[in-house]
Symmetry: D2
Subunit: 340 residues, 4 copies
Amino acid sequence: MTKAIQIGLIGAGRIGRVHTETVANCIPDANILAVADVLEKAAKKCAADFRIPSFYKDHRQILENSEIEAVLICSSTDTHAQFIEEAAEAGKHIFCEKPIDHDLQKIDHALEAVEKAGVKLQIGFNRRFDPSFKRVRDAVSAGEIGTPHLVRITSRDPEPPPLDYIKISGGIFLDMTIHDFDMARYLIGSEVDEVYATGGVMVDPAIGEAGDIDTAVIVLRYANGAIGVIDNSRKAIYGYDQRVEVFGSGGGIVVSNQTPDLAVLSDADGVHASKPLHFFIERYTESYVAELQEFIDSVREDKTPSVTGLDGRIPVVMGLAAWKSYRENRPVKLNEITSN
Amino acid sequence: MTKAIQIGLIGAGRIGRVHTETVANCIPDANILAVADVLEKAAKKCAADFRIPSFYKDHRQILENSEIEAVLICSSTDTHAQFIEEAAEAGKHIFCEKPIDHDLQKIDHALEAVEKAGVKLQIGFNRRFDPSFKRVRDAVSAGEIGTPHLVRITSRDPEPPPLDYIKISGGIFLDMTIHDFDMARYLIGSEVDEVYATGGVMVDPAIGEAGDIDTAVIVLRYANGAIGVIDNSRKAIYGYDQRVEVFGSGGGIVVSNQTPDLAVLSDADGVHASKPLHFFIERYTESYVAELQEFIDSVREDKTPSVTGLDGRIPVVMGLAAWKSYRENRPVKLNEITSN
Amino acid sequence: MTKAIQIGLIGAGRIGRVHTETVANCIPDANILAVADVLEKAAKKCAADFRIPSFYKDHRQILENSEIEAVLICSSTDTHAQFIEEAAEAGKHIFCEKPIDHDLQKIDHALEAVEKAGVKLQIGFNRRFDPSFKRVRDAVSAGEIGTPHLVRITSRDPEPPPLDYIKISGGIFLDMTIHDFDMARYLIGSEVDEVYATGGVMVDPAIGEAGDIDTAVIVLRYANGAIGVIDNSRKAIYGYDQRVEVFGSGGGIVVSNQTPDLAVLSDADGVHASKPLHFFIERYTESYVAELQEFIDSVREDKTPSVTGLDGRIPVVMGLAAWKSYRENRPVKLNEITSN
Amino acid sequence: MTKAIQIGLIGAGRIGRVHTETVANCIPDANILAVADVLEKAAKKCAADFRIPSFYKDHRQILENSEIEAVLICSSTDTHAQFIEEAAEAGKHIFCEKPIDHDLQKIDHALEAVEKAGVKLQIGFNRRFDPSFKRVRDAVSAGEIGTPHLVRITSRDPEPPPLDYIKISGGIFLDMTIHDFDMARYLIGSEVDEVYATGGVMVDPAIGEAGDIDTAVIVLRYANGAIGVIDNSRKAIYGYDQRVEVFGSGGGIVVSNQTPDLAVLSDADGVHASKPLHFFIERYTESYVAELQEFIDSVREDKTPSVTGLDGRIPVVMGLAAWKSYRENRPVKLNEITSN
């Protein structure tokens, strides 16, 4: 067995714990050596639950630990850019949750620090590692559907996040659609140069009062002429709805939802199947393993991760453009969004 | 058996013959007594093939026949408005293929003539009569999916129409999307007040040279706040792709494609099923019967058809708005489109 | 248009009326000239409803009509063999509903009469003409699944027939499984040489009191080594359940049920689709057209129908063997069943 | 965190390693303390790969270790009964792979030893723990399909096992169908009292030369009157085919195959999806976790596992009855199979 890559976890909230469990159970050649969280209690509990040797309140204690080769940044979004910079300066390889930041200048500073330090940076767009979406990407790359003409992405959550989160999340286009913006780029390997966004408050008026919308449709124009359509809802009563479709000159490929079982019941009322898996933890289990395995492999084998810092930056630009489009009710070019 | 309603057919082209066959085989209480076509040969052949007693070159011979209670107008689009007016003046009930015209003034004149004469007018939006789409409409009406938030309509043809047709058809939004505009109104029973259309030439450059596009996405904003998305392609290599989805506060309902058989083959390469039914003749057989049966019932029972002249007019407005939106690359309000 | 084949209908009950409607609407080159039924009222009503020129109480008036080239025998099963003989002697081509008879001697006499007269005889195993089952047969013939190893046929009715019918029908293996026996032979083009049947009364004790069973499983051993399994129920609460599967060295092919619409609803309780089409009239519409078209083509083009007298005889042997197997609870060879 | 249950693994072959990995990654409250295998090299490698502290050639060293509370018996079938006895006498709780033995007397001795010692015994019928099959069982128990009338189980492997295995495995009914016999009992919670088995050599003549068959159909008669049908093949070219269906007075429930992804591609040739997951390791991952978790919970909470020694014995009786039925080509009552 090869020597395990030693990892420091920064941020012991929900997604931090998901990654910790994944490393513990499914990544044999990595090991979490220390965890830090501004809520020291959270760090302590995470350490206890997953037998992590050390825990800290201050993430800098992780950065100072010379045994640690890589960090997982799972803290709140407003700290990502700063922690990336600090980790890069400390020579640590970095896996950072999305989004890097909502401010392009901060993103750019962080990416410069990464480049200067020559460390790896992988952004947590986990859905790219889902077997079904990867199958679509591979089919498109292999020309199985010819030249892509249309991309459709449906992304609906089973329930809205807490209002406190919505107030600081950057809103639907930056906290939710951002995954779909990444998916839109990933699936056909082409850049978007214009977005048109529309939407409204249909699920809960309190979301509107918090300055956000809860239902949206975004049209994308790709540089290569293809068109994309994303639809989002903060609440699908039947569960997490995650479908994609790419249509092209040679055919089309569609991904439907995953269910907890494959039983179908027929009775006097009709034919009944189970609802989709409830939410991202259930739906994307495999993708969380695969993205961390790729990160560890990148560190071990000194290769660039497939989800780069630029891949983290562009969906933020798309999210900002979507907000501008929504507010001005007109198509907005991505190059209207600049970092100053 | 009740006495059959006597019908005159105006226009013996493809759709005229479809309706004739439908009346002959599936509408026991109607009978086609005469057929007219400017191509007398077409009228003659149609009469011979379906044992229709009389055929004419001039449609006025049909309008003068006092035995005839109703006409099916299946001639070229540029003649619809005029023939509606003439038929109304002759006191005939009218079934007219879509669209009524591309010119709103002409449409308005025709509808005024119909109103003045007090005859029935039904427009040939046959897809409303498809059992699957009707099921969606009924589910929405019955509140099975709660308040509608999103409507998605995919409508892709297996192959483009002839270029000669494209040159006079009014283009994709008036000859193809027009069905989807009607479907968008039908499914949720609410009016659209803004459209945003984008698209391009991806299938065949000759379509672009003919002044049309072949691939399009149209976003609809309904008066009640809901959002609609239509996507169109002139060419889906796997056949006629006709799907709809309505998503709401209480759930979602989706219609998938119909196939010629239900056999699924598994072999060393994968799991394989048949392509969708090839085109509208195969896919919408049942709906052609049901729409004509409703028309005949309307005449016999003196009731208003469910697809009225206004239902024929509004999708034309939507099509004109879509073209304006496409050309100006901005959302366009339907009330920007006026008849003068 | 070619001259229509003139047909006489013998038996104006349910299936007789189905065929009459099919000929009237869907077989342009055939025409029903006369109808006979021992219940003269039924013959009269059928004539009136479908505009048939003549009706009789006595089927011999049909056989004496020299304009009539072919007869459809849709009378009660106990008359089939006799009417086949008489029709053959009168030189009429014959389409006869299944089963020919429950008595092999009578069947043999009838088939001899047909052979002697040189007329066409087609037996009404309509399911062979269903597009999905035909697709399976074609896939098997074309070697798409390699050498067949297993055949599975599920055939469940939505509700039991009237008890009066059950008492004279020959029981489940002769009135219901007989279609599946034919399907078993059709799908893989090989003969069965042994059957093992088991079953019971699970749906309604009155069926047991009438001397029949209502639930059955029949295992078939084909001469070529393949195995077949049929399962039957007189009552599937969710509707007509008609599925087949053939599995072989190169793959498998499965046919699922047909539904009245393709809408799928997702709500808080799950994912819901429509039940299968209710019963044979709804499910096998297309096959009724195709079988009669083949019969008419056989007459017109002087070729042997694909469902011969022998195809009518063998499933009766299988049904008798199934009853023997059920009663003796052991596998029974078909050659244990002889006509004397 | 509760104190982990300490486990000894006996047998470090394929299934032993599967369970080891499962315990290591997915059962937080259990720990494998030692591994034994007659092939000491296999024990050593397993210990190294999964960081197990001790490894032995002789399983008695595990039984003598007082820290060990429970053993997983994953050695060859001919050793199961003996190891169960020894482990019971040593006071260890036992999880044993199926089948216990092919000899009913040996099974009975082993079960007596277990009973005498008062230790837990769970048999490795993992498929009961699959979410889809559990859903069927729950639906049946809850009366969602009324009274069960028919059970259908399809179980086809992607490829035959090695011939060396076939020679000692007890043949298809004892090494493969045994899972389906268990499933048949599990799904409807009723005992079988008669079996009829037929089959042949269709996949590979070498299997026949080894004294086995490779294709089989088994009909079960339940004590409560219901009927079951199992079909088996040693080779389904499209992958592992694992489907079940239960049909009853109130409806039916069907489980279809699980696939590695949910993408469906439509092209000019048809509509294509992925093949089922390749084999049991891929298909039943979740069930391996759930069965071991139940075993550990049974030990910790001192409760009887849901898959008992009797549940291990009965399918062996069914397998022996199936062989007798196959050889004598007649239905065989289970009470014809006795332990002496």
